[in-house]
Symmetry: C2
Subunit: 227 residues, 2 copies
């Protein structure tokens, strides 16, 4: 992630209007949340600092005081989202049960989109626009991760634990299916006629995806251990 420089948080030592920096933290949180919403909706170029400031209920100058500039704010949001993403990229081994791994994968990815729909859309907008800020992350960290998983999927195939399918495309299938409900929420709501996607819906969708994808790859469900 060499494109994403670490953001200096401002080296406050002692004095100041706030001993433990609680004000700063609160304001930063507020601004980041507002910015995530605005960037998600309009994309990097389409979002204006003014709009973010209004969303946060602060003067524009204040937003810039905390975040330096628009680009830095955007990069920081991307970093935060990547961190959330990385948090659920746990390692797996050939010895693990394919069904359990795939189900956990689908479930955690689904929950990530669910818990952070704006972050998910922000990420989607970044990729849509050609991933100008995330190129190196995609070609580096994420690529390694995918290839590691792919190798294990292949070994499962050799052991006859799943059908011979291209593991990379399987990963893309799971990503696309799970992200769809956050990124295309407007479409899902418009077509289903609902006014929100409930927790129960999410649970049903998760089960649906798990069922179809596991069966589609010839993976036996976890409860039915062989023998």
């Amino acid at each position: 992630m060499s494109e994403l420089p670490t953001i200096e948080k401002g080296n406050r030592s002692r004095g100041g209007a706030d001993g433990n920096g609680a004000t700063r933290e609160r304001n930063e949180r507020e601004i980041l949340a507002a910015a995530e919403r605005v960037f998600a909706q309009y994309g990097y170029r389409g979002a204006s600092v003014q709009a973010i400031a209004e969303e946060a209920g602060l003067p524009k100058s204040n937003v810039l005081y905390y975040m330096g500039n628009k680009r830095g704010l955007y990069v920081r949001l991307l970093e935060r989202m990547m961190a959330r993403w990385n948090a659920l990229l746990d390692d797996i081994s050939v010895e693990d049960d394919p069904a359990e791994v795939l189900e956990a994968f689908i479930r955690s990815k689904m929950q990530l989109s669910r818990r952070h729909p704006e972050g998910s859309r922000l990420f989607a907008a970044e990729i849509l626009g050609g991933a100008p800020f995330l190129q190196s992350y995609l070609r580096g960290e994420l690529r390694q991760w995918v290839q590691a998983r792919a190798k294990i999927f292949e070994q499962w195939e050799e052991r006859g634990l799943m059908d011979p399918v291209d593991p990379v495309w399987l990963i893309f299938l799971i990503w696309s299916a799970t992200q769809h409900y956050a990124d295309f929420e407007a479409q899902v709501l418009g077509i289903t006629g609902k006014d929100e996607i409930s927790d129960a819906d999410v649970e049903r969708i998760t089960r649906f995806l798990t069922q179809v994808i596991l069966k589609g790859c010839g993976v036996r469900p976890p409860s039915a251990t062989p023998g």
Copy 2:
């Protein structure tokens, strides 16, 4: 699609710089193509008329002369994409073979994203931003189409031709999986290390998706007719 007013093409009657309007058509095509690229990359707000003009190699005034204003240009592009989309929404009946229908569905959707990647991304950006221009289309035409299909899927389920899965979510699964390769192209390329998605790749992906989704829903492949 009541939100999308028909665009007046300018009622030229006789005279003018061009008898059959060839100039106009050529310029309009050029501008629309350029605009599709720019809107796809930056979204509605992020795209500037200036950028579109440069992409088309024309002065900004000329773009506005042909298209009236930014909003009209954008709406016209959305309409064009919806028309392409509608062109492959052929009717199906309960008597059709589920496997054939699903495979044709996946294949044609895949080709649409393939043939019009910018249009696909334009649509995606519109939905990402909350579908401000497509609300009525989603809640109207498209919703009807989905429900009609869903009913047929349900009848197939009753006849034991496929597993009992929610048909609407199945449609969303196919949409998301097929669109992913256009919308998230940057991610796919970054992770696979390719510099383009070839025709052969598209064919392999199509077969992969068909295989997994058909099997995942318990639909027998088309060649193997029952008996």
